[in-house]
């Protein structure tokens, strides 16, 4: 049981560090068991951004928290590869650069999990990474929904 947990935990940490290094080069992340000898102890998450002190996740800014928790969740569920993500406007507190960063992280995730996300127009990177764009409008008292596949749109553009 200890071995199963440590294997999964190490996989998760490796995946997280991969994503973290990509998005925040020069910064460091620490995900550790409070008591390394006890696999039932709490998990601490500390982040040391470049030129900033080492802080717990709870002390970070709104945008920083969002980026870290998203990458953490994606790392955790990349292991089983069978979890579907339903993300409703998780980019609400991200600035334009972090929206783009997170969109790349989400796009890289598709080899592990299906992702269904909701975003507002204007968050272009979250739309550009989509294989299917589900455009929603409201007319005559009803939602109108159109599914556009990227493949179809690229073919349209070529013709």
């Amino acid at each position: 049981r200890e071995r199963v947990f440590m294997e999964g935990f190490n996989k998760l940490k490796n995946r997280f560090n991969e994503l973290f290094k990509e998005v925040f080069p020069g910064s460091k992340a620490y995900i550790e068991l409070e008591d390394p000898e006890n696999i039932d102890s709490d998990i601490l998450v500390y982040i040391e951004f470049k030129d900033k002190p080492k802080l717990p996740l709870s002390a970070l800014s709104g945008g920083e928290k969002t980026a870290i928790i998203l990458m953490l969740l994606l790392s955790i569920y990349s292991i089983g590869e069978d979890t579907v993500f339903l993300l409703d406007e998780v980019d609400a507190h991200l600035d334009i650069r972090n929206i783009e960063n997170m969109s790349k992280v989400i796009r890289a995730q598709k080899k592990y999990n299906q992702i269904i996300l909701v975003t507002l127009p204007g968050h272009d990177s979250m739309i550009s990474i989509a294989d299917h764009i589900i455009a929603v409008a409201y007319r005559n008292g009803v939602s109108k929904v159109f599914t556009l596949s990227k493949e179809y749109m690229e073919r349209m553009i070529r013709e």
């Binding site: 870290i68 955790i76 979890t83 339903l86 294989d131 589900i134 929603v136 599914t147």
Partner: protein, 155 residues
């Protein structure tokens, strides 16, 4: 497994909505109030969720298109398992008859069976992570204990 298609009838702003998803990235986009979150809620509804708070409602009648009593709310999910087999899950709420009906691959089943079929789908079960609108910062404020529990459940 992945969700291939959803058919929504009379769930809030969705009178008759059909969406095809891909086993990749699916982005639902549109301005405020058009019905984006309603799509996610409809999926969660069909997955068996029963907490009315999750649906921003105080009764199931609040979920029916224009709060009508004369029509039924139904959401159908087409889920593909790792062997490529398609499974059809349909949940219906009828204000007239006052209850929920569950159908798996076209056959009427108990709620219990329906949930079990979701959990053992193609051997591994349909698992999902739902981050509700406005909840991401709360998730980030998880305690070290919460994070340990989260990792344990996922592993």
């Amino acid at each position: 497994p992945y969700l291939k298609k959803v058919e929504i009838k009379n769930y809030k702003t969705h009178r008759n909505t059909r969406i095809v998803f891909t086993d990749g990235i699916n982005s639902i986009v549109g301005p405020n109030g058009v019905g984006k979150s309603n799509i996610i809620e409809a999926i969660i509804f069909a997955l068996g969720e029963r907490s009315l708070k999750t649906f921003r409602a105080s009764s199931y009648n609040d979920l029916v298109y224009n709060n009508r009593k004369d029509i039924d709310l139904s959401v159908t999910l087409y889920i593909v398992d790792k062997d490529g087999n398609e499974h059809k899950f349909k949940r219906v709420y009828s204000p007239k008859k006052g209850g929920h009906k569950y159908r798996y691959n076209g056959k009427r089943v108990s709620r219990g069976s329906y949930i079990i079929n979701l959990m053992k789908l193609g051997g591994e079960g349909f698992k999902y992570v739902y981050i509700q609108q406005g909840d991401i910062l709360n998730k980030a404020n998880a305690t070290p204990r919460d994070i340990k529990n989260l990792v344990d459940d996922a592993l």
